[in-house]
């Protein structure tokens, strides 16, 4: 099979699989599935800069929060439909990514991660202290209109499920196309050795900025979705460092730099987290401990993630070997 046909087949199988959850009678279960896919979408958005480009951002909650706050504020204050607010948030997040990225891209490895973490924390503190417009630490409620799909809200969970499936498909396509584009090729070279890429004439700052802005814009759209799904946002929920770490860990555990790895990471981690939360009851931080544990296990076994483990298993069971397998 050609890579395109194989990608298409996997994609078709995924779309088919996405119809199945609609059969579930429990709105609770459908909510969990929807959130899981939202995290898959976020991990795919992070993958653009963190996976393909290899720049370990631990500040993506900032973009998620910007998306949620932008659309909610526009809706609550000015009656702008969150469908439009989503694009405003995305544009704002892309701008923020440029502002954060430009000085931070000079930093390498852990220093870049720390700088992005700090930038997101500063934003969180700023929002917590803006009591008037943004509601401070108490957050903002999205005005309830019940069944108003044009205002991005509905009482039926199937509505949100359908939206998140579309968003996920878009994120998968963008990752797929990016990996086959010139920008993607540059990003992979940068991830491999950025000094060498620079010496070969690649404008590494421009490539990283483009990736960071695209990644931030997609993440912000996820923030708008979250605000509409939960109908409420607060700094703790949408701007926390935990969220930034979760997104990154999902992508890394699943397989950074690949198309399906980030989604796989979300499919594994979110349900695991849900089960752990029930089993361990109210232990604060149990979810983060689980993340840390799973990250350590996967990184020890195969730093390229679960996606790679599955692929190796697949190849070992006698399926046709791919060119890179040897």
């Amino acid at each position: 099979m050609t890579p395109l046909a194989r990608g298409g087949a996997v994609g078709a199988a995924l779309v088919a699989a996405m119809v199945v959850p609609l059969a579930t009678p429990s709105p609770y279960a459908l909510s969990i599935v929807t959130l899981t896919l939202l995290y898959g979408y976020l991990a795919l958005s992070w993958n653009i800069i963190g996976g393909i480009g290899g720049q370990l951002s631990l500040g993506h909650a900032a973009y998620f929060g910007i998306g949620g706050y932008a659309s909610t504020l526009l809706f609550v204050q000015f009656g702008v439909s969150p469908w439009f607010g989503m694009f405003a948030g995305a544009a704002l997040a892309a701008l923020a990514a440029a502002l954060i990225g430009y000085p931070c891209f000079r930093l390498r490895g852990a220093y870049f991660a720390l700088a992005t973490l700090a930038a997101a924390m500063i934003l969180k503190i700023a929002v917590e202290n803006s009591h008037g417009l943004l509601g401070g630490p108490r957050g903002l409620e999205v005005t309830l209109l019940r069944d108003a799909p044009l205002q991005f809200q509905h009482t039926r969970k199937e509505f949100y499920y359908a939206v998140v499936v579309v968003m996920l498909t878009i994120a998968l396509s963008i990752n797929y196309l990016l990996l086959r584009s010139r920008l993607g090729f540059h990003l992979v070279a940068i991830r491999n050795d950025q000094d060498a890429a620079l010496a070969l004439g690649i404008d590494i700052t421009r490539s990283k900025l483009a990736a960071a802005m695209l990644s931030a814009a997609l993440t912000a759209a996820g923030g708008t979705f979250y605000a509409q799904f939960v109908m409420f946002i607060s700094p703790d929920k949408v701007l926390s460092a935990n969220l930034s770490v979760q997104i990154a860990v999902m992508c890394i555990v699943g397989g950074r730099g690949t198309v399906f790895g980030p989604l796989l990471g979300a499919l594994l981690l979110l349900p695991a987290e849900e089960i752990a939360r029930r089993a361990l009851g109210g232990i604060v931080g149990a979810d983060m401990m689980l993340y840390g544990l799973l990250l350590m296990i996967v990184m020890r076994r195969e730093p390229r993630g679960v996606q790679r483990i599955l692929r190796d298993l697949w190849n070992r069971t006698g399926a046709p070997r791919s060119v890179n397998a040897g």
């Binding site: 070279a189 000094d195 010496a199 070969l200 004439g201 060119v323 040897g326």
Partner: protein, 237 residues
């Protein structure tokens, strides 16, 4: 005729540490020029300052008559200077062919990039045999060939080489220098920084001896090799 590359009173270093102290040298079109000197004399810093990865604190780097001091590295590369970095610096998780194609990407021309690929494979048949293998699976000598091939893929006017023989077996070093001679015969100008003084002076027509960041001697390679005082004091042979 204006030299291809000209350094005028170049100073540079890392933070407060000054490494180059007023280096002036020139490389004319078609030449192979070698820079020799002890460890820590500033040879690698010289290459990095030309490439813009270490900023010059004063002085000038001129390429093809134009001042390129302080320009970003990627722009310098696009003007036609390719660098084979110390330690090879391949893209370890990319295949041989992908490594080469990153080099060819600078041309923004698929056909020329393809032609460069054929040329590189002709020069290094080992690379053609293993075009789909990951770069990190290579031996040191093969990696160096790939690093040189990748630099040539940018179709450079001037090739800078930083310690191409370091850590390689003598027989491999020999084949690397044979390749460099071929590259020079194709009309590519070479500036070579190298610890293997004998081989490097045998290849180069002229050489500069640097010590503590300054040029202490310059001249035709044969003349430098024949000077007993120089051999003892600076070249360690």
């Amino acid at each position: 005729m204006t030299p291809m590359l000209e350094l005028r009173e170049l100073y540079s270093g890392y933070g407060d540490v000054r490494v180059l102290r007023g280096v002036s040298l020139e490389v004319r079109e078609g030449e192979v020029v070698s820079v020799v000197g002890a460890n820590g004399a500033g040879k690698s810093t010289l290459i990095r300052t030309v490439m813009g990865t270490v900023p010059a604190t004063s002085g000038e780097v001129r390429f093809l008559g134009q001042d390129i001091t302080g320009r970003p590295s990627h722009e310098i590369a696009r003007r036609g200077i390719a660098q084979v970095m110390e330690g090879r610096r391949l893209f370890p998780h990319m295949s041989v062919e992908e490594n080469l194609l990153v080099g060819g990407d600078i041309l923004r021309d698929k056909a020329r990039s393809r032609a460069g690929l054929d040329l590189t494979y002709t020069m290094f048949p080992r690379l053609a045999e293993r075009r789909r293998q990951l770069a990190r699976s290579f031996s040191g000598g093969e990696q160096q060939m790939l690093a040189i091939g990748r630099a040539l893929m940018t179709s450079p006017r001037l090739l800078l080489l930083d310690e191409p023989s370091i850590g390689l077996a003598p027989v491999v070093v020999k084949s690397i220098f044979t390749a460099l001679r071929q590259i020079s015969e194709q009309g590519i100008t070479i500036l070579l920084v190298e610890q293997d003084v004998h081989r490097s002076l045998a290849l180069a027509s002229r050489a500069y001896v640097i010590k503590e960041g300054s040029v202490v001697r310059e001249g035709p390679s044969a003349e430098l090799l024949a000077d007993p005082e120089l051999r003892r004091a600076y070249l360690g042979i």
